[in-house]
Every structure is written in C-alpha cells, then in structure tokens.
Symmetry: C2
Subunit: 190 residues, 2 copies
DNA sequence: TTCCGTTCTTGAACAAGATTAAGTTTTTTG
DNA sequence: CAAAAAACTTAATCTTGTTCAAGAACGGAA
C-alpha cells in the first residue's frame, strides 16, 4: 500500500529505487475507522497524512457552536494542519475520518529527515502546494460568484461520486450553506 | 533593492554569499507604474514576481462582466499565477499595479535553474506556500462565518494601513460584496 | 481654475439564504 | 426487532446583501 504514495511522488518528481526504499522504511501505515480522529482542536499536529483510501473532513468550531468544514481529503490527497505542524502550536482544526480509511503517516521529524536526504521531496511538496493554492483561488472565486445552488450543481458535476460518499449536512457545511437550504435545492430539482 | 528579497529568503532558509550573488545576478528589477499590467487574461505567465514596494491586484472577469479581485499583493509578497506559470497555459487572471510599484522578476527558466543550483530555494517556496495555504483556509472560514460587515471590520483591524491604500470598490470586491454595501457599512459606523 | 472621469453615497425594491421549529425518514445499536 | 440516534425535509418568517438609479464628492490633467 506504499505503492500509491510512490506513484504520486513519481507523478511530479523522479526518485530512484534506493530513495523509494528509504521512504517506505520511514512511512507508517495506519487504519483509521469512520469517526476516528487523527487531529483534535487544541492538539499539536505532529505528522503529515497521505490518504491511501477513504475520506476525511477537516473542520473547526465556530463561535455559534457549529462545525465548519474547511476541507475534505480523499484517496491520494495529503491532509494536515501545516500551521500547527510547522510551528508546533496547538491546532484550531479537527481532522476526522468520515469513512473507514487507510493512511500513511509521515511524522514531522521523519519528514524533515527525508527532506534533507531526498531534497527532491521539497520540490514535490512545493508543486503540490502550488496546485492546492491555485485550487483555492478558484474556490474563492466560486464562493463569491456563484449562488449556493450553482455551487452545489457545479460541485456535483465535478465530483458526482464524492457527493454520494458524504452526508448531505457535511456537504452543505463545506459549500457554505445550511443543510435546510441543500434540501430546498434538491427539492427544486424534482 | 535586492536586499529585501534576500532578507525574505533568510527568514526561512540559510544561503551563503555565493548563492546570494547568483540570485542577484539572475533576478531583474523593474518599475511598474499605477495601472500597468504584469499579466493579462489570456497571456501565458512567464515569471514569478516579488513585490519590493507597492501594491498589485489579481482579478478575473466574471460572467456578469465585472472584475472579481481574488487577491492583493503588497511589499515583500510574491504574486503570480502558478497554474499558468507551471503549465505554460493562458491565464484566466489579470495582475495590475494599483500603486507605483517596484518588483523583482524571476523568469520561469531562471527560476528552474536557480532551483537546481540552490535546492534550498525549493524549500523556501514550499514553506511560503504552506503559509499561504493556511491563510487561505482561514480566509474561507471568515467568508463562511462572518457577515460582510464583520469581515470588513476584521480586515480593517488586521490591516488598517492597507485599507487606506486601495480604493474602496476594490476592497469591496476582495471582501466579496458590492461597493454600495461597503458605503452602507461605513455610514452605519458614524 | 475648470472640466472630466473616477470614486463614493443614498435609498427603494427585491432576492438569496438563515433561522426556527416541527415532522419524517434512515441508520445504528442493544 | 424495537428503540434511539442521526440525517433529511418542509414551511413561515426574518436578515443580509444585491440591484438599480441617481446624485455628490473627489482627483488629476489641461
């Protein structure tokens, strides 16, 4: 199951067999069942997580006491709180599995070691983060320039399988409106 | 004026005198006056821009014909379209000076060369991008969980000098509401 | 200084989506 | 299988922010 991680690396950088072995030796596999947490608000985040299979949500609690989902992570995505990880400060986020999942864990210390033994990994994460950043610029554009209904339809068109995978109230939170409103949208379509 | 760039590098990585000289040799200084463009919608972005002094806006045109400001860049920030730069595809964004500004230009080819001669630079950009990403997660949280008025007050509290620097209609666009509404907010405060 | 273009303000009518509070369906668990 | 918990729906009312349209103020250039 390290293969999916290596494949992802290979998509952006070239690494040799020796380096692959080093990586596999230092990365640890972990099963995370539905509703289990890999990071809780207030804890210091100590690892970067590569999702081999499954689905996670990252959320924070608002001042009105509700949970605001900021991002989802699925197969072949990284998920972590970079601020907490880098500064070793308590996180404001909670990361929870929303399906039975399998992840690969790269501990902070290990990751720093890997960066110095395989500098190409810095490049890999730089490229990954560039892509994430571009996606976030678009996300803000969508939030500002589409109605809730348009945003739901757009998301539905882009990731139809994903919409089936998570409860509707989570999708509503991620898309920035209430579950009641999502119900209304769906009612309109039939 | 290369000093501000080197100082920014030194904040995140350590580089020696020799490397600093290489960087200075390859980075070009440029004055960009108010309302001048460094990237226009449809063009391929061919450089990464470090703002030494001044202010830029990055926007795209919406289907209703208006300009949606996605981000600002000020002193000591990088601005570019990473998607267009990396893939060498036409950009959907326009980047325009909103003050008389001074920038340092790192051409794509030059940047790639610098990455291979000074691998630490990959690390620098990785860290920068991590920070940007964290900021964007918070930005989405603010957009979803604060009213327009709260968002304006919050932004005003965080960057009071900046609010004075740009026209109100640009600020309104960046914060995701109409100039008319911003006027109304300001009227309420007095 | 005057003129012109740009930016900012005000107000009325309207739309998108939140809130509240039931009620219904689905899923989980003992 | 029954009961409880979790997820989803519906509808009435209320808020936030938009749109449109007009006018006022400001800033820069001739």
């Amino acid at each position: 199951m390290h293969e999916s991680l290596l494949a992802h690396f290979r998509r952006y950088i070239s690494i040799n067999d020796h380096e692959e072995k080093i990586i596999c030796k230092h990365v640890t596999y972990r099963v995370v069942n539905n509703k289990e947490y890999i990071l809780k608000e207030g804890q210091v985040c100590h690892a970067n997580y590569f999702i081999v299979k499954g689905c996670f949500r990252m959320y924070l609690s608002t001042n009105t006491g509700t949970e605001q989902i900021i991002q989802f992570g699925i197969d072949n995505w990284w998920i972590t709180d970079y601020t907490s990880l880098e500064m070793q400060k308590p996180s404001i986020y909670t990361i929870q599995a929303v399906e039975n999942s399998e992840i690969l864990v790269i501990d902070k210390r290990i990751q720093e070691e890997l960066f110095s033994t395989i500098p190409q990994l810095e490049r890999y994460f730089r490229i990954i983060l560039q892509r994430i950043h571009s996606a976030y610029l678009m996300r803000i554009h969508y939030i500002y320039n589409m109605s809730g209904e348009e945003r739901y339809n757009h998301f539905n068109g882009m990731f139809p399988e994903f919409v089936q995978r998570v409860p509707q109230y989570m999708l509503a939170s991620y898309l920035g409106f209430t579950p009641e409103f999502l119900s209304k949208i769906r009612a309109r379509k039939s």
